[in-house]
């Protein structure tokens, strides 16, 4: 077998199910229940396919300019790549090496983080959550020398979000020579972004995605915001892996989506309203629900293992996600769909576990 040592040892990330056979109500991978902006459809209809014969702009200038305008930055402070998963991969490569200490991230968080560590050979240490399963940033400061910090805010799969004050305190007390990466994939659903801190902290990098609030999971587009030096390092990593990771159509569709803020504000508002309504309904059925600022909720019901809830719902044609680890196995993570989707789920839960 002509395989490298590193591939023999590698344990890949396991994404949520994407079944292509049976039709499920998909509440398992935090996709948006509403279509992308109509401007996306227009862009596709009028796109001249001859443009595809040429390589894309490797610097994604138009798209980065738009993002910079939207967030009050300069284009040199914005990086884009093929989904926030790829942006994160380049972050691990460019910012974290454990020669100077381990990388720190929460014990319960996006389960891709340890996989990136594995891919690049980065040693890490996890920081416990509080008893209520929220992030406890003090835990990041009491550790031995570390080579950087990454956490998701809102966190996944819990959905809880830290206020800006706590994030500020972390940055004030962490060495400015080491990167702090905040994964804000879910920030548009009501959390407080660390964006205002970029001007004060040169070691802060914020990662975002078009997959959730922009309803473009199928497009694979993510971005990062931070000081020019950090963005240049991400470009260097990209240019040693794949010079053109974002194709011409994706760059254009991203720009079009950014030009329709009213539509996206409207659907985000609907998802937030549905989340609040659904959370109350779940509480009404006797479930424990963590306070969420994301487009999903993390919930459990006493005496019923999360795995059983997952399986029973799958039989009923509804996919949710279960994480079979010590602190998460009582729970299921439920994506917020449309009102009618959540009503169907509430009915199923009431029937199955009352």
């Amino acid at each position: 077998m002509a395989l490298s040592q590193r591939i023999r040892k590698l344990k890949p990330y396991v994404a949520g199910e994407q079944p292509q056979d049976r039709v499920y109500l998909k509440l398992n991978t935090n996709e948006n229940p509403y279509p992308p902006s109509a401007k996306v459809q227009d862009a596709l209809r009028t796109f001249d396919s001859e443009r595809l014969r040429l390589y894309p702009d490797p610097l994604c200038r138009g798209l980065r300019r738009r993002l910079a305008e939207k967030y009050g930055l300069s284009p040199e402070e914005v990086f884009v790549s093929n989904g926030s998963d790829e942006v994160l991969s380049f972050c691990f490569y460019a910012f974290f090496d454990s020669t100077e200490g381990k990388l720190l991230f929460p014990e319960v968080t996006y389960s891709f983080y340890p996989v990136y560590c594995d891919y690049y050979g980065i040693a890490f240490e996890t920081v416990p959550l509080s008893p209520s399963l929220s992030l406890d940033l003090r835990g990041f400061l009491g550790k031995n020398p570390s080579c950087g910090i990454i956490f998701a805010n809102p966190n996944t799969p819990t959905g809880t979000c830290l206020p800006l004050g706590e994030v500020t305190r972390l940055l004030q007390n962490y060495p400015p020579s080491k990167a702090v990466v905040i994964d804000e994939a879910y920030i548009d659903f009501g959390g407080e972004s660390a964006l205002p801190l970029l001007s004060d902290f040169s070691n802060l990098l914020i990662v975002r995605t078009f997959s959730k609030s922009m309803s473009l999971a199928g497009l694979r587009l993510g971005f990062a915001m931070g000081r020019k030096e950090l963005i240049q390092a991400l470009f260097a990593a990209k240019d040693a892996f794949n010079s053109y990771p974002v194709n011409t159509l994706t760059q254009l569709i991203g720009e079009m989506a950014l030009s329709d803020e009213p539509y996206y504000n409207a659907i985000t508002g609907k998802i937030i309203a549905t989340r609040e309504r659904f959370s109350k309904a779940l509480l009404g059925l006797g479930w424990h629900v963590l306070p969420s600022k994301a487009n999903f909720v993390f919930a459990s019901k006493k005496g019923i293992p999360g795995k059983k809830v997952y399986s029973k719902l799958k039989e009923a044609g509804i996919l949710v996600r279960h994480f079979d680890k010590e602190r998460t196995r009582d729970f299921i993570r439920i994506t917020i769909g449309k009102d009618e989707d959540m009503d169907r789920l509430i009915d199923s839960l009431a029937n199955l576990f009352s």
Copy 2:
């Protein structure tokens, strides 16, 4: 500066210029002068953008099935990813580690190979070309223990192509426990593919792209063909880097392009005819032209440094590529465009250097 050791040392690949300001006749990055199939335009016009709200099929099943049918393989023997650059990156990760010897590749070849080595920390050794600048595969066998071989056939930037017999002899004499990756980005322009060898050699992997003969450089789509075990390793690498590197539209457009073989045969035929005609015209002007089986030619004129040719042509609005290394600096690499493009270039060369 919050940067890792590895990023400080990294020297990224430098792709050919993609100027977005002035309009050049672009004969520098081996793009196809003809548009993609009309089926690509149809696919874009009729695509329902709502599909983009969901994640893509991470296994790219439809596209892999089509490729498998086209090349007489099973889908399990096909891997697809975001451009052949990304496929190659996963190959370096999955197959080559220098604990058992260095990786071998030709001294003159795709200049991304040493960058991947740098990215993943793989030691390598280069094998000299023959005096006529063609690959000399015997050079790969006389070396100390190596961890694998990669070469491009046709090679770049030279354009020369080895016959199947020589490739077969290499595989017969190289340890079957170590991977041999053949980068066939340019194979459709008249070279002999190693495809018939896949059934005999379990360590052979062939990498291809939609960027050149399929006229879809802007789409970023590449693929690999080989035994199931090798393909599984590429999937494992992908799943530790980015679960969904190929977006929904790209998968669909790739399928559509594959369904229009007559069109692609026609434009490939035209490019080959133009190459032969152009090569003769260059010879007529007193240039030295390597025999090419690619959509470009590598040419030099005695007494005129390649760099000077490159600069003078750029002033005249024509981009070609110059590689400033010992064995290549006398030459320029010229992409084959349409007949009229090459006529314009011949006129410029006649005026500038007669």
